[in-house]
Symmetry: C2
Subunit: 223 residues, 2 copies
DNA sequence: AAGGAAACTGGACGGGTGTCAAGAAAACCT
DNA sequence: AGGTTTTCTTGACACCCGTCCAGTTTCCTT
């Protein structure tokens, strides 16, 4: 789909000058290319998290970098390409955090408390990243170019939440009373509002989130 | 707060040439001024709902109007002033819709079904307006100028949800098990995800929203 | 009807944007 | 070392943005 009729270049490559393409080229070279791409995407992610989508320019991104603004078009086809790469980078971070949350869990109570606390922690220390996520998700409602990747991330978050809910039900010998989408929507609602209030300066936002998440888990299951 | 030390002009007025200000001026004149302001804000709201915050320019707004782009600076101090006026206009629409939802409700079941159906209806027919709301709420996380008004709208929505929840509890002789903020966060989560899926083309998004909202109400109360 | 105020127009300005390309610099490979 | 390719810089381009303002038109008062 992505490299369909209107693109004359293999998927993953970027500029007219393009990345190393020769057959005999060592894999080290293309790894280096991908590595720099990730490095630039990380800087872009930082800038986006700081300024938001609407206010982030390529020159601003390059200033959070040792390079000049021109290099961005050497590694990315255009701004959309860059930002999509960014958002995927975000997803990697995100899933990793959630997996850490899920890791330590033997009993139902442990899982519930660990999960609730983990939500609160990431809401606090990755606050700007999460607000960028909500920004990008809103953007995807207007800009179709973002929609596919945003939906994919949304899905992976939903699966993650569902893993927690169903595991919690299993450990506590109960059964879920909602479908995955509903469970995700509710936790996401709680999370987003906690983030909103936390960034607005409410000191109890994160504690409240933890308590709410803790109370929601049993509410989504029954004997 | 708004007309503090750094503004040399009475609150509500806009441009250097400004609105009619003389003492002997009839009220009809200032009403006319406010009326045109609202008219322009309505056009701006339409443009914003269509394009989103990041892609909406003053010239684009003026094109959804019988006037030229210069007139916007006659009625509004700057872009932020316009957009804030817009968002307040949105709030008026929003609260009205919700009030209509709340109006017809004698029994608990009637209220629950009317409310759930109302959510689904407005999610469908005002979809672009609601996506703008989520866009603006995200913007407020980056642009402090929007924060106060966004929080105010958020609060009024929360009160509206709470009116429904507490009225439902009353009618069904039960008591709420959550605080207003939590109830709002959950319904908002459901609503936002339904909107997302609806705008992405999912045909069952609105029906699912209705069912979810219907199931959530009793879950937020107990005997 | 005339004069003045309000309402509106349309172009200009300075600045910022994404994109591109020509050339300098660095890295790499015999 | 020399030549080639990859990588990066720099400056330009065309365009769009918010803002402003001189001037025109419209409306209202007297």
């Amino acid at each position: 789909m992505t490299n369909a009729l209107n693109t004359d270049r293999p998927a993953g490559t970027a500029t007219p000058s393009g990345p190393p393409n020769a057959d005999r080229v060592s894999r080290r070279q293309v790894d280096k290319f991908a590595q720099r791409r990730d490095q630039l995407a990380a800087a872009a992610l930082q800038t986006l998290a700081e300024l938001g989508y609407a206010r982030t320019s390529l020159r601003e991104i390059a200033q959070n970098t040792d390079f000049s603004h021109g290099v961005l078009h050497y590694y990315f086809a255009d701004k959309v390409d860059l930002i999509i790469h960014c958002v995927k980078h975000y997803k990697a971070i995100c899933v990793r955090r959630y997996d850490e949350i899920l890791a330590a869990s033997a009993t139902a109570a442990e899982l519930a408390e660990g999960f609730a606390a983990g939500l609160a922690v990431t809401a606090g220390q990755d606050a700007t990243l999460h607000r960028l996520w909500y920004d990008m998700r809103s953007q995807s409602l207007f800009e179709p170019a973002f929609r596919a990747d945003v939906l994919e991330i949304d899905d992976s978050l939903q699966r993650m939440i569902w893993r927690v809910v169903s595991r919690y039900a299993e450990l506590s010998d109960r059964t879920p009373t909602v479908v995955p989408a509903t469970a995700y929507a509710m936790f996401d609602g709680l999370f987003q509002h906690a983030l909103l209030r936390h960034l607005a300066g409410a000191p109890d936002a994160l504690d409240t989130l933890r308590a709410e998440a803790l109370a929601l888990l049993p509410r989504l299951t029954r004997d």
